[in-house]
Amino acid sequence: MFYREAGDFKTSYAEDNQTFPIKFDRYRYYFVLVVALLVIPFVISDYWANAVLLPFLIYAIAAIGLNILTGYCGQVSLGTGGFMAVGAYATYKLMTAFPWMDMVSVTLLSGLVTAIVGVLFGLPSLRIKGFYLAVATLAAQFFLVWLFNRVPWFYNYSASGQISAPERSMFGMAVTGPNAEVWVKYLFCLFFVILLSWVARNLTRGSVGRQWMAIRDMDIAAEIIGVNPLKSKLTAFAISSFFVGVAGALLFSVYLGAVEVGEAFGIQKSFLVLFMIIIGGLGSIFGSFAGAAFMVLLPVFLKILGVDMLGWATDIVAHIQLIVVGGLIVFFLIVEPHGLAQLWRLTKEKLRLWPFPH
């Protein structure tokens, strides 16, 4: 009923171009921001933070990153896990080499390192596309995990081969390490989510984003009208890897605290993020959030339903989860390739006219 554009006139192109052109949408967005910033930090509990909110925020960044590459620029990547590992190990090396450095700089620098690595592995995309590119990025995934496993310099020659995040504080409060409070961790991750999704939105609505989408939709025509495919694809790889690297850095330093590379950043992580954007919606920032929320909440929901309410064994529920996710991927690929974001868009289109159909 409130979702109306009638009477909401746009008198300039800037107004017509805004992210949420409909007033109701705009206020809903401000409302979510206020709740996320001013309400949740006071009511957050350990369980909710660790089971839902932190992974949601971190995977949302990774999903936006992969969505820029796959959803906007059309370059399939199965190397997300490997690039997250780059972010995590860069963070670890920076934290141990420069103990005085604050965590925001460390995280952003890790993203930058990942961006460089991403560009390197993006070079084959100039020659190959689709399925073959996916295989090339798969090589990146296995190579990077192997590298971090085998070269002791990356884990500072520790006996276990693991890396663990030392304690670092910002404004006198611990952000990483065992003494960090969950609300601090939450706000730290939220800061990056807000910053990066804003950047992603800006890049995708402007000339850079249109070049990516042009390459995705028809690369030959894109080149004929003046898109430099080399530059465009590599910037997509760089930006995407930057996001994924930041997500990996946060996953390691803030969320997990200690990781073993094969376990935390294996191929299943690449698929997890890919599933997020397929279910959430390719080429949509909202879709990245929706997909991340869905994939994070599904196990929690199934556990509550299966284990706590119906009394099933935990492993059965885990198997059911695999079946449900697999089924949904097939369903979305066939019925709605644009995912939850498209369903949301259709709902909104219906709502604009509701309850009158014309």
Binding site: S12, Y13, A14, N17, V199, N202, L203, R205, G206, S207, V208, R210, Q211, M213, A214, R216, D217, M218, I220, A221, A222, E223, I224, I225, G226, V227, N228, P229, T235, G283
Partner: protein
């Protein structure tokens, strides 16, 4: 060597046809053993509508692809605006001011009409990556300025009502028009149209012819086009190149070409005795 020199003149309908804009000199293009274009030379003058016609497989589209930098000919030179054009990638040719449309529409299906047209403006977008990431300020001003130009073209081609529609949902005739808009918005010095009227009914053809003439008249854009409909070609073009089997068999005004014996033979067939 330099380009052919002409004296400007005024046409009956008051347009000025200037000096040579582009000249193709002895172009030969081969694909393996197949010779698609054989030693063809012709020029395009500023402000004119130049047509390339010929039977199927004559090499017209290959010729257009050479002009737009999509193919690099094995022999011959391409001169543009007084300079010899070195071997270039297609996106570099676009930056010289050559825009084109395609025979089988090549729009970006996942994007809206407006976004498609705005993509045509990308050579005018100078804000850096960082500007765009921050958006406020330079990137936004630039977006608005270019949007203004895009809207002018949208008005010109009368597609206001569909500007936010995803291109994939549009009917054929409108897609052709959006593609023309995307090429036009780049303010090209030379506009290449590959069969702009293919697959259209009479009314759509009339509309398209009118748009082509208006573009030429109002913006002074030089146009080179390939078209099968002889009636249309003879009506709207100033000069016509006729190709057959990769060779040039005629060049001149529509009237000259119409009375050329070789052209008549190619189109109607020759009696063998």
């Amino acid at each position: 060597m330099s380009m052919m020199q002409y004296q400007p003149y005024e046409t009956e309908d008051g347009r000025t046809i200037g000096n040579t804009l582009m000249e193709m000199k002895n172009i030969t293009l081969r694909f393996g053993g197949v010779v698609a274009i054989k030693d063809i030379s012709f020029d395009i003058r500023e402000g004119e509508i130049r047509a390339i016609i010929g039977p199927n497989g004559a090499g017209k589209s290959s010729m257009l692809n050479v002009v737009s930098g999509f193919y690099n000919p094995q022999e011959g030179e391409v001169w543009f605006r007084g300079e010899k054009r070195p071997q270039m990638r297609p996106f570099e040719v676009a930056r010289l001011g050559i825009a084109r449309t395609f025979q089988n529409i090549a729009l970006f299906d996942g994007m809206s009409v407006l976004d498609n047209i705005m993509t045509g403006r990308l050579n005018f977008m100078k804000s850096t990556f960082v500007d765009q990431a921050i958006w406020w300020g330079k990137a936004e001003r630039e977006e608005t300025a270019n949007r203004q130009k895009a809207e002018e073209i949208i008005d010109f081609l009368e597609i206001q009502a569909i500007r936010k529609t995803p291109v994939g949902r549009l009917p054929y005739g409108l897609k052709k028009r959006v593609e023309l808009a995307r090429a036009l918005v780049a303010e090209p010095k030379l506009l290449l149209l590959d069969e702009p009227m293919a697959g259209m009914n009479v009314e759509e053809k009339e509309d398209m012819s009118r748009f082509i003439l208006d573009v030429n008249d109002e913006f002074g854009t030089t146009i080179a086009l390939i078209e099968h409909d002889m009636g249309v070609v003879m009506d709207i073009s100033d000069r016509v190149v006729v190709m057959d089997y990769g060779k040039k068999i005629g060049d001149g005004t529509p009237d000259e070409v119409r009375s050329n014996q070789e052209v008549i033979d190619a189109y109607l067939g020759v009696a063998h005795d």
